[in-house]
């Protein structure tokens, strides 16, 4: 089975995000970069399928030189090879353009299942997996927590509001991983050593024939709207404080 996992490198969840004074984006100095947590689930599931059915796991990532480290992390977990799409014109590409670059790279390699994360925790856009599926003319199974493959059919579990769906699809397809799918493994020390020797291809937008024009752009970045300072509720004891909160919720906030 030929499996592809798309991984994005994102700021660590603890990272302080500072908006540049001119609102042109964020200041990314001093940020610690990690693999998008949802992509870890995708990589883990890819490795599980490989263990079950044999085959190859290819990691694809769009991004500058620093993303090589994230690709190597996936290789150290057990993936076989990497493709880095490195082009300054793609550095803050929108979802459509990123997906187009991924599609162009994946088109050229055999693929039965393609994993993405359900969303990247930097732009929080949650679009790339579906656009990729459309551009490759494949079915998509998004935000899934269980994957079962038999022959050329896949069954997945997808939680929706107030229910769970069991969905069947033909292969090949794109699956976007949600928390709950699995517990991602850590890279072992021998894994890290081996990863250094695994093949890593580097491509640019022109070689892939991808337009970098873009369909959407963040025209301005701002700090989050500030919340008015809150009240600490005074009171003799827990009961008095609770009574006060209930009253405020009813009379001031009018939410109950």
């Amino acid at each position: 089975m030929n499996i592809v996992a798309c991984v994005k490198q994102v700021p660590d969840t603890e990272a302080q995000i500072r908006v540049k004074p001119d609102g042109s984006g964020i200041d990314d100095s001093g940020i610690k970069w990690v693999m998008n947590p949802y992509d870890e689930y995708g990589v883990e599931e890819a490795l599980k399928l490989k263990e079950k059915f044999g085959g190859d796991v290819t990691i694809v990532s769009v991004g500058p030189a620093r993303v090589v480290e994230t690709i190597r992390t996936a290789l150290a977990m057990g993936a076989d090879k990497g493709i880095q799409i490195d082009d300054p014109a793609l550095n803050s590409a929108d979802a459509y353009t990123t997906a187009a670059a991924l599609a162009a790279a994946i088109k050229g390699i055999p693929h039965d299942v393609i994993f993405c994360g359900q969303r990247a925790i930097d732009d929080d856009s949650g679009q790339v997996g579906s656009i990729l599926a459309e551009l490759l003319d494949l079915p998509q199974l998004t935000i899934v927590t269980k994957v079962d493959i038999e022959g050329t059919t896949v069954k997945v579990v997808k939680p929706i509001e107030g229910a769970q769906l069991l969905i069947e699809s033909s292969l090949p397809c794109v699956i976007t991983a949600q928390k709950g799918l699995n517990e991602p493994r850590y890279a072992s020390l021998p894994g890290v050593m081996k990863a250094k020797k695994k093949p890593l291809d580097v491509k640019n937008a022109a070689a892939l024939g991808v337009s970098t024009e873009g369909k959407a752009k963040v025209a301005k970045t701002t700090a989050p709207p500030s919340r008015p300072p809150g009240k600490i509720i005074d009171g003799a004891d827990a009961a008095a404080k609770a009574a006060q909160v209930a009253k405020l919720l009813r009379e001031e906030a009018k939410v109950i």
Binding site: T13, D122, S125, S130, Q164, K215, K217, A238, A242, A253
Partner: protein, 325 residues
């Protein structure tokens, strides 16, 4: 030239969902600024009867496509049909909900329409005749104002953030026929397992009562369930509680859980880690109950109670019961 604002309304089991009215109201405001019309698309089987309800929230025209293949929802059938309708009607702006269905469908449409989208927006406005969509990024640590160069200009709207406002318009229903290419229908829903508790999903809840590590164990949640029952709320959890196995993964609020925007979020025994606040900081009102006055959750809370939650929560339940009686 592309003109008007179109929404994709969402229905389940033959009833329009709340997000549909939120979309209609947001679309109405944009359309009024542009001096244009609002249209809506409703897909389903036997849904012509409910389509007219959208008029009440400001929709001028509703396109209804009826087909057994639209029930239950699949990406394949919906994306195919809506791509055709959008290409034919050529709206300038296309809005969907950032619900589970809307997330799946909208991003597919970005591909099929080869355009751009601002997803999970908390505000939309018009500047210089163009859509400007405001959305939290980096888990709400900053906000982006997105402009779409492609057509239509797409945005998905975060559920529960936009008010559904009555503003009656014609809501004229027009049936449209969309022939589906059956060879392209590659997915099938085999089973729908409804959550037996019947509770409102966190992403749609008006009130959430959430518990963290401070609940001490799964039993602790009993007092939260009691408060939730009185308030008509849904119970949520921090990742610490989920990872400890006290609550199911579907209850997790935060950066790697659900993004919620209720009117009221009551955080009990939750410290307020960045990753937790990422998921709930767009709540309208936040109450924090924590015995540590230094807990970061108090920086976001409208009302903070520094005390033992096991003493406060039962009293709060009692007081609310009294007020709501």
């Amino acid at each position: 030239m592309a003109k008007g604002v179109m929404i994709v309304a969402e229905q389940r089991d033959g009833a329009l969902r709340k997000i549909s009215f939120e979309l209609a109201s947001a679309a109405r405001k944009l359309a009024d600024e542009l001096g244009d019309e609002v249209s809506a698309v409703v897909l389903g089987s036997g849904v012509e009867g409910i389509a007219g309800q959208l008029g009440k929230y400001g929709v001028d025209k509703v396109y209804v496509a009826d087909n057994a293949a639209f029930e239950p929802y699949t990406t394949d059938a919906y994306a195919q049909a809506i791509t055709k309708i959008v290409k034919e009607k050529d709206p300038a702006i296309l809005l969907l909900g950032a619900s589970v269905l809307g997330k799946d469908l909208s991003s597919r449409l970005v591909g099929s329409l080869a355009t751009g989208m601002a997803s999970d927006c908390t505000d939309v406005k018009i500047a210089d005749g163009k859509l400007v969509a405001v959305r939290p990024m980096y888990a709400g640590k900053c906000y982006g104002e997105v402009v779409v160069a492609g057509s239509p200009q797409m945005a998905s709207l975060r559920p529960n953030v936009f008010a559904a406002v009555e503003n009656a318009k014609a809501g004229a229903v027009e049936k449209v026929d969309v022939a589906l290419d059956a060879a392209k229908l590659k997915t099938k829903v085999l089973e729908v397992q409804k959550d037996s508790s019947g509770k409102v999903d966190l992403t749609e809840a008006n009130i959430i009562v959430s518990g963290g590590r401070g609940m001490k164990g799964p039993e602790g949640y009993g007092i939260l369930e009691e408060l939730a029952a009185v308030l008509g709320a849904t119970v949520g959890a921090s990742r610490a509680a989920v990872d400890a196995g006290w609550r199911p993964v579907t209850d997790q609020v935060g950066q790697t859980g659900k993004t919620v925007s209720p009117n009221l979020y009551v955080a009990c025994g939750i410290s307020g880690a960045l990753q937790h606040m990422a998921g709930m900081s767009s709540s309208k009102y936040i109450v924090a109950i924590n015995k540590d006055s230094e807990a970061p959750i108090f920086t976001k809370a409208d009302y903070g109670v520094v005390d033992d939650l096991f003493a406060v929560v039962p009293e709060l339940t009692k007081e609310c019961k009294k007020l709501l009686a």
